[in-house]
């Protein structure tokens, strides 16, 4: 506990500093607009009035934190959960395609890794391409996937989940190949002396040994999947989802709306990663968790 409080205090102070900077930034960035649109028409004004005006503008360049918080709170509380004006509804839409893509991508990644570990041909022929494709901006391919799946008749969640899946499976495959190969020679030889089949060796030795490699890659994968799902909502002109909210916000110059969507997507990303970390802790036990 003592260790926790020693870490919490600096974090809290840095956070507080960030909020102060944010407020100051709001004053400086909004001041020209506030003077021009709010204060100048009314005549002379004091500095206090200026500061208050910059923190309560309707379309600020940089909204103050409390404006974003109030907007977020109103959108969460004032509207029913299934209303498109409720941001939680959009977060749920994005989270849904992220999770579907994440599950499919993880399955694909694990199966592919298992195949690569057991087949020299795949290892030699396919793995270099998978590794190389990580240096490529895969998200650029999102519009193509959307068009192809759209013309095949898939609409709604499938294209978004496909892009999330595409982003998820790379880190999982690479980490799982490493993990499935991590057992020492002495362990595999022991399995051999027990006359264990390849399947048994896979489930009893390789798979447990790979889990510590799998989970960190899952945390990377779900964050990448969220980015994929949000970007997939951009070119389709999707009606729902956090990405669509960002786009409509930028069309209509609704700065506070953009910031609310941004904050909620950050919270969603943190929540999803924390959920994976929680599962990791459950499966691996508290000790192996760094």
């Amino acid at each position: 506990m003592a260790d926790d409080s020693r870490r919490l205090l600096p974090v809290a102070i840095v956070l507080a500093g960030a909020v102060v900077l944010w407020y100051l930034g709001a004053v400086f960035l909004n001041a020209p607009g506030a003077i021009e649109r709010v204060l100048a028409p009314k005549g002379p004004y004091s500095n206090t009035e200026l500061v208050i005006a910059t923190w309560s503008m309707e379309r600020p360049v940089l909204p103050a934190p409390h404006q974003v918080a109030i907007d977020l709170w109103h959108s969460l509380v004032d509207w029913p959960l299934d209303s498109p004006r409720n941001l939680l509804y959009h977060a749920a839409v994005t989270a849904q395609s992220t999770l579907v893509g994440f599950v499919l991508g993880t399955l694909l990644g694990v199966v592919l890794a298992a195949a690569i570990v057991h087949s020299r041909t795949l290892d030699r022929a396919l793995l270099p391409w998978i590794v190389a494709s990580q240096t490529v901006p895969v998200l650029a391919i999102a519009p193509i996937v959307l068009v192809i799946l759209g013309s095949l008749g898939f609409a709604g969640i499938a294209p978004k989940a496909a892009i999330a899946m595409y982003l998820c499976f790379f880190p999982v495959t690479v980490a799982m190949v490493q993990g499935l190969r991590s057992p020492q020679r002495i362990d595999t030889e022991l399995m051999h002396t027990y006359a264990a089949t390849r399947m048994q060796a896979f489930w009893m030795l390789r798979m447990p040994a790979a889990l510590p490699f799998l989970f960190p890659s899952l945390r990377v994968a779900i964050a990448a999947g969220l980015v994929g799902a949000m970007v997939a909502e951009l070119p389709t002109g999707a009606q729902a989802g956090l990405g669509a909210r960002l786009l409509t916000g930028s069309y209509y110059g609704n700065t506070i709306g953009i910031w609310s969507a941004l904050v909620l997507s950050a919270l969603l990303g943190l929540g999803l990663t924390a959920a994976v970390a929680g599962v990791e802790r459950l499966v691996l036990g508290p000790r192996s968790f760094r």
């Binding site: 020693r6 870490r7 205090l9 600096p10 974090v11 809290a12 102070i13 840095v14 956070l15 360049v61 020299r120 041909t121 290892d123 030699r124 022929a125 396919l126 793995l127 270099p128 391409w129 190389a132 990580q134 240096t135 490529v136 901006p137 998200l139 650029a140 391919i141 519009p143 193509i144 068009v147 192809i148 013309s151 095949l152 945390r219 990377v220 964050a223 969220l226 980015v227 949000m230 970007v231 951009l234 070119p235 956090l242 990405g243 960002l246 786009l247 916000g249 930028s250 110059g253 700065t255 953009i258 910031w259 969507a261 941004l262 997507s265 950050a266 990303g269 943190l270 999803l272 990663t273």
Partner: protein, 374 residues
Amino acid sequence: MKRAPGVLIALFALAVLALAFAYPLTAPPDGAGALGWRDGLAAPVAWALFMFAAWRALQPTDGARATLSLVLPCVAGAIVFAALPPSTGAAPAASGFWLALLGALGLALISVQRSAALTGSRLYGSLTSALFGLWVLFFWQVGVTAFEVPRVLLPAPSAIVQSMLAQWDTLGRDFVQTVLKSVLVGWALGSALGFAVGVAIDRLPFLQRGLLPLASLTSAIPLVAVAPIMVMWFGFEWQSKAAVVVLMTFFPMLIATLAGLQAAGRLERELMHSYAAGYLRTLCDLRLPCAVPFIMSALKINATLALIGGIVAEFFGSPTVGLGFRISTEAARLNMALVWGAIVVAAVSGSAAYALLVQLERRWAFWHPSVRSA
């Protein structure tokens, strides 16, 4: 006698190819004048090369030279095969062509399997993956043309190359706008800022303890989403994209720098201390060199992140130039060949930047275990 691996597939390929010879290659709409395997020069050559490869695959191919005698006819046959009328879309394909394509699939499996089995040189690994890539390209090209897949769905590689050549100056301008302006500037600025802040707060453990957990949390946040805000602040031009890239690349570099500065061992630090080396001396002669592998890997991660950020930020509004703009507008106009062309440009620049950084890493961090073992 030793049984060759995959001999069943080889037998299958041989049988199918032999059978294919009896059937016509093309099926003209009016039914007359169908080409066979004996007509012209390309058809018999392709067939003979494939037959030779299939026959070669019946025997074990131990060693590099024997494998080469299988792989080379395969590749040569595939190149000639891709020039046949049904492969180029000049004439509709007939049963003989489909059978031969099936045989080619068998040959692809065997040739990749045999070349993957080679041991000895590291070169064989890259050759195997190159061979696999060639086969994928071959089936993409021939399959898409012969099956008449709509261009909207998947254009053939040749169509992509054609549209790239035709619109070369457009793609060139997009490349300059996205890669050379927004991505390169943002990447350099973000990485430099991350490094500078990392070095600056290295002496402030309190700030480090506060900043590091927050900085590592940012990896879970979709930072690309700040793009609409940056577009509002900095306008449609490349500056707003560079700002997104700066934000995306700052935190990985900060974390890597802080971790790298801690990497110097206690013994070495005490040695520096015993030399009466001051903070700056220790930093320059010991701790920064020790941090190089960390910084290099952050630069590599940032290169990929920067390209993604630069392209995605253009989806939120950009001048009528840029790779992300090209991809999204041409996809909306269903001009998929040019979309693929833009993706090829992005992919090649991403891989080239990555390869360049790997080379630099080999030069500057040659002593690090991760480089030596690679």
